[in-house]
């Protein structure tokens, strides 16, 4: 038996003998993705802890305190009249925000002057801080509207008029382009892609690098009947399947279990997932082909894939980065994939709109393999290559 099946058999036997190899291939990707999924599985933030600093000590200020606590997104963790105690609670991590009701708050409202409330959110933990800030804004706005409505009823205005007049122009947030109320889905789906590119590239470096390091590349090529294409294709079967399994399990967890909407095309998204895995496998083979050094190729993979999420524009827009970072960011296939993922899973763009991204991924895949295969064939035939680590 030679050719594709022989190499596949060789890989399978190798895997069977090593728990570590099985871990690296499948369990590690699955566990990492499940962990990240688990961190964010709540999806929406509830009961974010805040400190209520009440320097007014009146019925109205206490009412505001209860309104904050009753808001689903917030929980009053501490009531105090010292602002410093509030700041200390935030520094300790017991609270993420502070609401200060100053002295004379109720008296000012009674006199018909605006009552001023100051609130702080912890911007060092920016994403949490943004959630707190949004919750505080809506809770205080609701409270303000209640105070106003009560004042109008006290003035004797009819109830219906009050309901209409408190807001002559209502502004409604459009949810067509943003079905989610928070950033978590973008972040989580992007993180999964960031991990899958890492596994794909590491996997390709591993399957080829091991043969070069152990000086068994000649056997590998011989098993494939001396042809590099079946030799590489058979090697990549298991890593590719493992990456796809992990990513698909993750997508099933998001869109199936958690029920996040998927307005776009599954075909396009899954096609892009396959292409992204292939692109990074191609790059991995290219790096091992160039360096012929398993250790160095692994380090290069770490350098390319570990910071990639920061450069791919997932959280911080590419357009706001300095030139050098933009060049690097645009060069990463991950950025192309993330753009497509957002088009399909968030905007629900028509499939045709994602053709350019698919084409880029396909072109880079072809290019990477076209360069990597001859290099690898040459390395594999030279028994001395790959011994230096």
């Amino acid at each position: 038996m030679t050719g594709f099946r022989a190499v596949l058999r060789r890989e399978w036997d190798d895997l069977g003998g090593s728990t570590l190899a099985q871990m690296q291939l499948l369990w590690l990707p699955l566990v990492s993705l499940v962990l990240v999924w688990g961190v964010f599985m709540r999806g929406t933030a509830t009961d974010l802890p805040v400190v209520f600093v009440d320097q007014d000590h009146t019925s109205v200020s206490r009412l505001l305190g209860r309104a904050l606590d009753a808001a689903p997104g917030l929980a009053v963790r501490l009531r105090t009249d010292s602002l410093e105690a509030g700041r200390e609670a935030v520094r300790r991590g017991d609270a993420e925000g502070i609401v200060l009701v100053p002295r004379n708050f109720m008296r000012r409202l009674k006199r018909g002057e605006p009552g001023e409330v100051t609130a702080w959110f912890n911007a060092q933990f920016l994403l949490t801080g943004n959630l707190v800030s949004r919750e505080l804004q809506s809770a205080v706005l609701t409270f303000s509207a209640q105070v106003e409505a009560r004042a109008r009823l006290a003035r004797g205005e009819p109830r219906v008029a009050v309901a209409i007049n408190t807001q002559p122009i209502a502004a409604r947030r459009d949810t067509r382009h943003n079905p989610y109320l928070n950033y978590v889905p973008f972040l989580v789906a992007g993180l999964a892609a960031g991990m899958v590119q890492m596994f794909a590239m590491l996997g390709a470096v591993r399957v080829a690098g091991r043969e070069l390091r152990d000086g068994t590349a000649v056997d590998w090529l011989t098993a494939a009947g001396g042809r590099i294409v079946p030799a590489v294709a058979a090697k990549l079967v298991l890593p590719t399947l493992a990456c796809l399994t992990a990513e698909l399990a993750f997508l099933a967890g998001l869109h199936g279990w958690l029920g996040w909407p998927m307005p776009g095309s599954w075909t396009v998204l899954l096609g892009a997932v396959v292409l992204m895995v292939l692109v990074y496998e191609g790059l991995g083979l290219l790096v091992i082909g160039i360096t012929a050094n398993y250790r160095l190729a692994s380090s290069v993979t770490a350098f390319i894939t570990a910071p990639a999420l920061a450069f791919a524009g997932l959280t911080y827009p590419l357009g706001n980065m300095p030139g050098l970072a933009q060049v690097w960011g645009h060069a990463l296939p991950l950025s192309v994939f993330l753009r497509l993922q957002i088009e399909q899973t968030v905007r629900g763009a028509p499939a045709a709109e994602s053709w350019p991204e698919l084409a880029v991924l396909a072109a880079v895949t072809v290019g990477a393999f076209a360069c990597a295969l001859p290099l690898l064939a040459w390395r594999a035939r030279d028994p001395k290559s790959g011994r230096k680590q």
Partner: protein, 388 residues
């Protein structure tokens, strides 16, 4: 004492003479100090491009459009006749947000009827999103409030009364600590703590894997346990010393260079660093025990970076994670490290305010000491002389 010094010197020599280990334990720490902050170097708040669809075309709708354009966060780059054109521009990424003013807008407002404007944005860019939606809501809210004040004044209120009546409770919302609300000053301090742990994890794993593959597993210890413990402790101190230098470079020089908030005093930081450095050293050696080959650490442990970062509770609060994950998070030194260092360095906390994390780190030192010693002894316990 002899064994201790021997272990210290040998470990440092081992780090600096192995090109692979040197690349991870020294090179990567240096390169990442500049590479990770790179995307955020020019961090400025830009006004975001938005589009408007004015289906009313009245004096009032034009006023709303002007106010949107005058908002500091927003810049009107496109006007659309039809919502469909606007949809295309959002899809193409030309605009970050939009406002749709319905036909009959002015007439409804004048008659006191309820009218709804619709605003939205590209939520996939969530840092910009907050700014755009905030701006659009503010412009609309201001116009709405102005109309209401006029109504109340027409009903016989004084201007002051009317101003108060339309919004009796006013909220001033302010950022605490990271007052510029910079994304870089949020992410980089946490990423630096993670880089310290992960480079050490990969580097120690590479050294352990290399030596294990070369020396084989030890059957019999050829030295007294006492002498071995001394050598092991010396090795730990060598890693801690190297990483103390890295920490000074990151938290001192790099934070200064990138203009990050630096509120911690040196003594407090040093006191917090001791258990952190010891914990990551022992953690790295404990996990290094699974490495059988030179490449195992990168192949197996690199991917832990992303889960470790998000378990640290800085992107999503620890309290909102499922309970088992919260326990798991406490087992990773970066969780306590990120929570502690950010509070000390960026938020100006005192050591007393981070005691929970300080003790967590000491507990981790106790927890990982035995596994670390076991994996070290399995490799180096039988060596007659320190391997070079």
């Amino acid at each position: 004492m002899n064994g201790f010094l021997q272990g210290f010197g040998h470990t440092l020599r081992r780090v600096f003479t192995d090109s692979g280990a040197r690349l991870l334990l020294v090179g990567a720490v240096g390169v990442y100090s500049m590479f990770y902050p790179l995307p955020y170097l020019h961090e400025v708040v830009k006004s975001s491009p938005v589009g408007v669809v004015d289906l009313d075309g009245s004096s009032l709708s034009r006023q709303l459009v002007r106010w949107v354009g005058a908002h500091e966060n927003l810049q009107i780059v496109r006007r659309f006749a039809q919502p469909a054109e606007m949809e295309a521009a959002v899809a193409a990424g030309d605009i970050d947000g939009y406002l749709v003013i319905p036909a009959g807008f002015r007439a409804d407002v004048l008659r006191g009827r309820h009218t709804v404007v619709i605003y939205g944005g590209d939520a996939s860019r969530f840092l910009v999103f907050k700014q755009v939606l905030g701006g659009l809501a503010e412009a609309t809210g201001t116009l709405s409030a102005g109309i209401e004040v006029r109504r109340l004044m027409a009903a016989g209120m004084s201007q002051r009364q009317a101003l108060t009546a339309q919004g009796p409770v006013q909220l001033h919302l302010r950022p605490l600590f990271n007052t510029r609300e910079g994304y870089g000053s949020y992410l980089i301090p946490a990423a630096f703590v993670l880089i310290l742990q992960q480079t050490l994890l990969l580097g120690v794993g590479m050294i352990f894997g290399t030596d294990r593959a070369r020396l084989g597993a030890a059957k019999v210890a050829s030295h007294s346990t006492r002498r071995l413990v001394g050598r092991f402790a010396g090795g730990c101190l060598a890693y801690m010393t190297l990483y103390a230098a890295h920490a000074v470079f990151y938290f001192g020089f790099c934070f200064w260079l990138f203009d990050m908030p630096r509120n911690g005093d040196g003594l407090t930081l040093a006191l917090f660093s001791v258990p952190f450095l010891l914990a990551i050293t022992l953690f790295a050696q404990a996990l290094g025990g699974v490495c059988r080959q030179r490449e195992t650490s990168i192949q197996g442990l690199l991917v832990t970076s992303i889960p470790f970062l998000f378990l640290a509770g800085f992107a999503w609060p620890l309290d909102l994670m499922p309970l088992p994950l919260r326990w798991l998070a406490h087992l990773v030194p970066t969780t306590a490290g990120i929570q502690g260092f950010l509070r000390l360095n960026q938020m100006g906390a005192s050591l007393a305010e981070v005691t929970h994390w300080w003790w967590t780190l000491w507990a981790l030192c106790l927890l990982y000491a035995w596994p670390a010693w076991r994996s070290w002894r399995r490799i180096y316990g039988a060596q007659p002389a320190p391997p070079t």
